[in-house]
């Protein structure tokens, strides 16, 4: 276990050590129900509201005098969220808390004080099994550890080719190192919240729980869909229309895309008519396989934009920004918040 101070726990209240700390200090749920602790409940509620709007709850640890209330408001927020039971809020909260912790991890990594530096490196290693070593100003991790995380990012700068790579290691800045583990940090906090059990909650919490339920209603999404095909699909259809050969991977993309858009096998099969090796029976058989109507019964999904890029099937246009799979093309999400 890490040797943590109160300040560290205020920065990273999701660590297992928080429980020990609260027990040692003699805090319990009943106490928190006392009207005297109302400010903590309000602080916790505020922390959730800030997270729900996509912002990061900021508390300047260096200037803060009441570290206990930082830790307690996090714990209370979890109880409020669990009682409200709305996963959208939990998701937004854990992401915002992950990003808050990210800020502190980054600060700690940049610290010249060796004791401080050991601490974030150890958190990253203990929680996420990533060994970070420090070489000068760089933070160095194994290529395989990098790839496992970086493939979830869609900005091209995260592709391995755009990184400094030497002898099996990737060189990162403190910001990049911490950014790389955001998803896991988020998942870790999320799982912490989910694994918390709340049997009964104090009366004083109930009002704010009801407020959270009301708040969550604001976050329903509306999705508008355009009927335009994405450029990769257009390109594939054009190639077939010209009677040219579309590689297997391109045919697979086209079939899975159209199936995902609700087209039937009868509608899709004729598209391949102009292919130089067209055989109606074989084409139908293959589409039926992809649709999962027979054979292994696996229904295949449309390959991701990343995969299509690797296969030279991507013809990106500005409207593609923000999507990770062709089936998302033209969908616009409008959040009422």
């Amino acid at each position: 276990m890490l040797q943590l101070g109160t300040k560290d726990l205020a920065k990273y209240p999701f660590l297992a050590e928080t429980g020990v700390y609260l027990r040692d200090k003699g805090f319990n749920l009943e106490q928190l129900g006392h009207p005297d602790w109302k400010p903590i409940v309000e602080k916790a509620y505020g922390r959730i509201v800030v997270a729900a709007t996509g912002q990061i709850y900021g508390s300047d640890i260096e200037k803060l005098e009441d570290l206990d209330s930082e830790i307690l408001s996090f714990v209370t927020a979890i109880i409020l969220l669990k009682s409200a039971g709305i996963s959208t809020l939990i998701r937004r909260f854990s992401l915002a808390e992950a990003r808050r912790a990210e800020k502190y991890l980054e600060q700690d990594l940049r610290s010249k004080d060796e004791r401080k530096l050991d601490f974030p490196v150890k958190i990253i290693q203990d929680l996420f099994s990533v060994k970070v070593t420090i070489q000068g100003d760089d933070f160095v991790i194994k290529v395989a550890d990098y790839l496992r995380r970086a493939v979830h990012f869609h900005e091209r700068e995260w592709k391995l080719i755009n990184r400094r790579v030497e002898k099996g290691f990737v060189f990162l800045t403190s910001h990049e190192t911490v950014r790389l583990i955001r998803r896991e940090l988020d998942a870790y906090i999320n799982s912490k919240i989910h694994s918390t059990t709340t049997l009964s909650i104090p009366e004083t919490f109930k009002e704010r729980v009801a407020d959270l339920v009301a708040l969550a209603k604001k976050f329903s999404d509306t999705v508008t869909i355009s009927t335009e095909y994405p450029p990769c699909i257009k390109h594939a259809i054009e190639v077939l229309e010209r009677g040219e050969n579309l590689p297997h991977s391109g045919r697979f993309m086209l079939a899975t895309y159209l199936l995902a858009k609700g087209q039937t096998i009868d509608q899709i099969a004729p598209l391949f008519k102009n292919a130089p090796d067209y055989n109606e029976r074989v084409t139908r058989y293959q589409i039926e396989h992809i649709a999962g109507t027979f054979g292994s019964r696996t229904k295949y999904s449309c390959p991701s934009c990343d995969k299509l890029k690797s296969e030279n099937l991507c013809f990106e246009i500005p409207e593609c920004s923000g999507i990770i799979n062709p089936v998302q093309f033209g969908k616009k999400r409008v959040t009422n918040a």
């Binding site: 493939v151 700068e157 592709k159 080719i161 690797s310 296969e311």
Partner: protein, 373 residues
Amino acid sequence: MLEKNVRFVEDTFKEYYFNHFELIHVPPRTSEREFGYQKFNAGMTRHLGIKNDKELHLLLMTQIPSDVYCSNAYYSFPNLPMSEKDWKEADLIFDIDAKDLKLDCRKEHTCLKCSTCQNVTTQQSSCSKCGSDKFETLSLTCQNCIIESKKEVEKLVEILTEDLGIKKEEIQIYFSGNEGFHVHVTNTEYQNLDSRERADLADYIMFNGIIPETLGMSKQNSSKLSLPDKEEKGWRGKVAKEIFGPKSKRPKIIQEILAGGYSFFQARLEGMRQTIGVRIDPKVTMDVHRIFRLGGSINSKSGLSKVLCKDLEGFDPFSDACLLDDEKAEILANCPLSFTLKNQKYGPYLNETISIPKYAAVYMICKGIADVP
């Protein structure tokens, strides 16, 4: 393939397998691998579990496959359907194929076979015999194809060792048995990578997806440029060598790039993929469920064997992988090109019945330019 051709080729393959058990072995961790095979004119049989060399040899003798495959992946239950196999990890595999290198020599050793009347010609828009315009392309790989493929293998090995930190001992280079090389990498920390992660690794190797920012130019301020030095490790150093060439005219070149701007630089970098990127087939590297040709087995596209290259530089596939019997056989050859096997030149043959060693006869039959009379 015609039945009479199948019988002849199968007999020769069987003879090879019987006489060369010492060349064909199951790979390590056999019981965790999936095996598969194909027979001439038949589909693929896969999801097989094989325990040892003895079982493999028995399969070769009883089935006489045209091609034998083994998974790069390790499973708990290799012989169950894919969804129940329980994937554990997979070796990294790379396929370098001369046909993907778009070499100038290809037109000199490629012929066309009419899909309607089987007539073989060198270059034509329609068949001189029947007028059909549907052709199958046949390639008789040449030394230049092999030399160029070897260069790609060397580039690949350099990236694997220098950039990715893989030890030379973990890298095995095989001649694919037809037009290129297969590189297998075992026992590394990359074994657990999934398909998506391998795709990014493949992009790295192929020099795919580089952005000018990585080399010191930003979109917002493309009037500033801080290009890497030739001495730098990884792609930055390789790009610097490519841009500046052997004689350093650094200021002039920097001026040119600055004048062209961001999109010009981006296009220039993309153009470099053909020269400095390694031309692997990304689909092979991305596939973690593939069954890949087994070392020591014969490739039915040529009758040559997939063999380990201990000395890549000195390796000559047309001798070192040409392992079939040299007893004479009679075939009807329709081969407008010449080719060399075991330092002996064969062809061209214009619809002639000839008597040549079996390895050459099988080579031509497998390539589709000869039949058993």
